[in-house]
Amino acid sequence: MDKLLLDAGSGGLASHRLVADLFLKYFDNPVLAAMNDAAFLEGDPQGRPMAMSTDSYTVDPPEFPGGNIGSLAIHGTVNDVAMLGAEPRWLTCAFILEEGLDMAFLERVVQAMGKAAADAGVIIAAGDTKVVPRGAVDKIFINTTGVGPILVDPAPMGHRAAPGDAVLLSGSVGDHGLTVLGRREGLSFEADVQSDSAALNRVVKDLVTELPEVHVLRDPTRGGLATTLNEIAGQSSTVVRVEEKDIPISPAVVAGCSFLGLDPLYLANEGKLLCFLPEEHCDKALEIMRRHEVGQGAVRIGSVIDPKEATYGRAGQVVLTTNLGGSRLLSMLEGEQLPRIC
């Protein structure tokens, strides 16, 4: 069988074959293998509060340098759960698949999901598959939900950003967004760009267990760094000031963005995190982040300022100090970035 048939979503034998031959093969774990209507989860013996997050993944193209929609669906939800200072333990995944889908492609996606989950130390505990007629979806949609205990009290949240906090970023921005956009448009860049898609739960675990003082953790996905910083400034009614010269952007992303008329600060990232915490813990937090491969490029990019004391900007605004030393607003992304005329 090299093309997916509608039968595979019927609930009958064809469905069972798909689950047994494909999903269980790559998601192998005792909870899922029990094949009950619901997953039996042992829970958290310490009775800690749990974090839960869900997200649906549609990406064009579904395969790109650095990953595919499957690994992205694992990393995205693992990271969302982790950003509450939690340890993601269990995931669900639901597929909506288009009739006629190439089975080799589906296998690559599922295989990548299995590997991404194993690497992150989470299990896929439940799932669902629907197959819809050709044209009803664009190849493959995946929804993942993640659950896990919160490791620190109080949990890091956007409203906790406070004046005196340092703003840290775990590495370069724009890589995922430019990679996907470049592939979609069939563009090749002088130097290769690759998605940064990666699970951040291990670096988060070290951060919050060694530094419970962490105020905010957030992964700047869609809308990019600029939009995420604005969300946090808005939630905490502070002014966030960031230094353009300190924001790491790879030369290939700078060049690609320049060519396409895009701003890397608004491009999606899938393997980066922002960490806000009191100034005095800045060095320790950077050391923890750099311990992990995904945090090798960790740097401080700015500070949180009391709006009453800010020379520029009001509560809820992000101010960028440019490379030239000038100041300007770094506002939220409005709609999607579109290629321009000249």
Binding site: L320, S327, R328, G335, R340, C342
Partner: protein, 363 residues
Amino acid sequence: MDFLQEFSDPELCRALVAQLVEECTEPFRFMEVCGTHTVAIFRSGLRSLLPDTIIHVSGPGCPVCVTHESEVELYLEMACRRDTVTATFGDLMKVPGAGGSCLKTAQAEGAHVEIVYSPFDALALARKYPDKKVVFLGIGFETTAPTIAATIKMAREQKIDNFLVLSFHKLVPPALRALLDDPEIGVDGFLLPGHVSTIIGLEPYRFLADDYGIPGAVAGFDPLDVLKGLLAIVRMKNEGKPAVTNEYRRAVSDQGNPTAVAIMEEVFEPADALWRGIGSIPGSGLVFREDWKDFDAAAVLGLEQKPAKPLPGCKCGDVLKGKIRPDECPLFKKRCTPATPVGPCMVSTEGSCAAYFKYHIES
């Protein structure tokens, strides 16, 4: 040093800003004609570094912003036809017509609209959809017109007969003349558009100095380019010797690109055109020459430009002429935001209202 960063070197910029502070002793209103300059000045933070004596005014150099209401209405009507595929650069997608609809809403209602990066992509669409007329929206200045003309020539060579262009191209020098003829504008000097100048060179701007005594400098889009251009203009003012200079030699030759101009002139010829907020400017548009009319979407599809009223309350015209700052428009940040744009200056990423909204820190 990285070539991309070379022209943003903070030390050199600081030195040029200091020179500007020293030499620009009287208030000086300069207009940057091009939308890319507007964004570059805001984005680099230059605006907050320039001395108070330099008053920065945005001009009519954003092709989306100057597209007339009646042109927007016409292409929206065309896009809704079942027999057409509209190919466009992305920044036209959200430009609202009189009724508030735009290409994005038309697309949601079933119009076949495709965003392209180059007119050659539109030609590929014409091959892909042989049963439809693929119409490329020819909006832009001298920068884009030659490439579009070259695409049209290629379509003829390859006998692709379902590729059409709706030409609403505009020419920059006639618009500058029209601005200078308006006694209310009061501009002391022009930062001339780098992109347009790569095609037309310096000659078409000479009238600024010769006829009006206004200096102009062709400038690039990195901070050093902008500062160098400004300093050249300030010095010409101080010396009382207005001229048109080339401060963007790494991209612009004084003669421009004669090959590109020849291709553009082979396919198109100048005609009067409507500019949003400014009105009709003689010889400021490009229409198809007789020999090329079989690619003219307006002629082939029988499209007729109808009079359209300006959007009520929208002051984009005054912004484009540098008469008011974006934040002096009563709709700015109230009815008119990037999410709910009333006029095109707020729609286009290169529009001065959008730049103000996005980058300007209120004091």
